[in-house]
Symmetry: C2
Amino acid sequence: MTMDKKSPIKFTLTERDESVTITQWVYETLRSAVMNGQILPGRALTIRELATLLNVSPMPVREALRQLSAENALEIQGNRRVIVPKMTAMKFNELCEARIAIESHAAARALPYIDAARLAQLHSLDRLIDQAQENDDLEQISILNQNFHRLLYTANPHQVTLPLIESLWLQLGPFMRLATSKLEEHYLVDRHNEAMIAIEKKDAFALQLAISADIREGIAFANTPELLQRFIEQSRTDAS
Amino acid sequence: MTMDKKSPIKFTLTERDESVTITQWVYETLRSAVMNGQILPGRALTIRELATLLNVSPMPVREALRQLSAENALEIQGNRRVIVPKMTAMKFNELCEARIAIESHAAARALPYIDAARLAQLHSLDRLIDQAQENDDLEQISILNQNFHRLLYTANPHQVTLPLIESLWLQLGPFMRLATSKLEEHYLVDRHNEAMIAIEKKDAFALQLAISADIREGIAFANTPELLQRFIEQSRTDAS
DNA sequence: GAGGTTATTTTGTGATCACAAAATTAAAAA
DNA sequence: TTTTTAATTTTGTGATCACAAAATAACCTC
């Protein structure tokens, strides 16, 4: 059986802002590719290949790869090869539970700092999510959902957990996106509303419950093993 | 008033293993310097200076700095300068609470996987900590204490939180070490024992309590504001 | 002296090259 | 065909150089 040597990588090449370093641009490009599952797990990423693909010199790619590895978005193998980590059912579960533990903590810590202005922003974000759901725009839903959580946690000006949370998002990346299926759209809306009601009441415990539920249902198919299994299978296939 | 332009950095230069890359060795050297507070917060780190100091070419330093920045051990300023982040009382508190939330979660998740062999290892580590405390070897205590926690969390073979936890340790680094003062040595011992008893009983809740208390007391001077303040002051002084 | 302007140095970024180790392909042997 | 071995290519690492931007020093004006 002959097959293509390497699975192709589909990048969404954005215009590069002159004020930003090439390294930064490469980093953002690779990051969103990982987050959106555009690179198959197990796929080996080589510096020169990416440099050619992105039309830059090897140096910025090298730095971006190291940073993404440090953020657990990529994995350095013993051979010094860099790959997109493969997923297992157990690891997936650990990532979800870690999200719940850390994010509900971050939410509770942010609560005292949320003022009316920020709450209004949260509401308007939630409305945008509704729209995106009507349009079935999965990628947009995913982005807006992240913005919602980020806006919540960053209310705390001394917050230190967001980088950790973003690392978990990155690791769940490709699988989180597929999760936001039409089936649970009403759940998501409900949970965000619950969260905002809890915020108005300054009820930390209710907020934690809402965030936990939102996460659990946002990646709800963790509880529908056959779906999860399908994606893990895909991830297990050799993508070198 | 004349003062030295740059505060000196005291490295503990270890022999470099040939099998390991220079970048890795530089990374480890810088990491432990940060962890042990051998670089004043606010101190600007330049590639060439470190390269000269460590007697390597700029390239490995460059990569190590980027990795440490990605791990939140260092901070990239707008000017693209890399510094050791400064500490504030609020940030310190956030870091402690984050540790408690994440580590007690990690401990609970590890509990089902802890077998007799690992428990024995934990016991022997605890004995080593006792010894180190008798010798007043603060650095050794700190290292062994970290090993104890790491050994606990890594019992879970699917664990994903250790990198996040290590990032928090790094950020607390210089301040964590100073915390392990003679005053609370009996607390530490007790908490580790409590943890091990909870493990034997497979009591997740008791384990979480023990770990939480251990962390809280290990950095107990968070509750003695005058001490904390002193170190933060030191951190605020311009160390450029 | 102090404040602002210019000159000088230092710095991060990015490009390119050399090289040993690893991966891949080709060839040979069973 | 299947397995071993050898030849070839590709890869990450590390070194060095160029350059623009930033930081620092020197200078001048008041």
